[in-house]
Amino acid sequence: MYGWIWRRLPGGSGTRALQLAVILIAASLLLWYVVYPWASLHLSFDQAGLG
């Protein structure tokens, strides 16, 4: 999977590494600010309500 992404990216190793870093950071931000907040309101581990 990562090999496939690596081969699809244009440029030399340096440019590719930079692009991969940008992709990883973007994916992390998306998880932290969008996916996790949404999931935390739909999955309940710590249930305090009654009924």
Partner: protein, 221 residues
């Protein structure tokens, strides 16, 4: 064939490891992220309460009629001195995950602060700033202060914490454990989960109103 098996194994290995990292990240979010989210929500809610209370009596009207409290809106501050002098949360209306993510929530349909019956508040044991982490440590005589636009209500905990099943709604009744009976006393019930991180059972703490101080002579908790 060997090549394709190896390729398949490598791809599934990469996907599984990626999922592992994503799940670890989610656990980190549940621990730190929800606390940050709750912290900034509490700042907004508490300053909202400050504005409401220093302004017109509009929120006093809202307090006298339980139906007018909107889900997720703050209407009281809770202080428990045994949890530390800085321990203070704005209480919002509602106990859904959306509301408990903001702070402790008032169980809709139960009494209002200082009212006859049972004022019930649920809060997260862990996540969202762990508001009710220490609830099981409260003992008979511990004080709980609820401040509203009308004043401050001082409740005194009666008895030890009790462990109940998650569907035991009788503890929310106007006379706790006796649904249908007419209330005479002014009670408070605090609810959280036990063990932490689960929905296995609930731990509840019950108290009774000992003093009501009108806003003019409100006390610092």
């Amino acid at each position: 064939m060997h090549v394709s098996v190896r390729l398949y194994l490598r791809i599934s290995g990469e996907i599984l490891m990626t999922l592992g990292v994503v799940v670890l990240g989610f656990m980190a979010y549940m621990y730190w992220g929800t606390a940050m989210r709750e912290g900034s929500a509490q700042q907004t809610l508490q300053s909202e309460l400050g504005h409401q209370w220093s302004g017109s009596g509009q929120s006093l009207a809202a307090l006298t009629s339980p139906d007018s409290l909107a889900l997720g809106k703050p209407f009281a501050l809770i202080r428990i001195p045994s949890f530390g002098s800085k321990w203070q949360f704005a209480v919002v209306q509602g106990t859904g995950l959306q509301q408990l993510a903001l702070g402790p929530g008032h169980v809709p349909g139960t009494a209002l602060p200082g009212g006859i019956g049972n004022f019930a508040v649920a809060g997260h044991r862990v996540t969202a700033g762990n508001p009710f982490w220490s609830l099981p440590s409260l003992r008979s005589g511990s004080l709980v202060y609820i401040e509203t636009v009308a004043g401050t209500y001082e409740y005194k905990v009666t008895g030890k914490p009790a462990w109940v099943s998650p569907d035991d709604t009788a503890v929310l009744a106007p006379v706790p454990d006796h649904p249908g009976r007419d209330p005479r006393r002014r009670m408070i019930t605090l609810i959280t989960c036990d063990p932490p991180w689960t929905g296995t059972s609930r731990v509840i703490v019950t108290g009774v109103l000992v003093r009501a101080l009108p806003r003019a002579q409100g006390i610092e908790g």
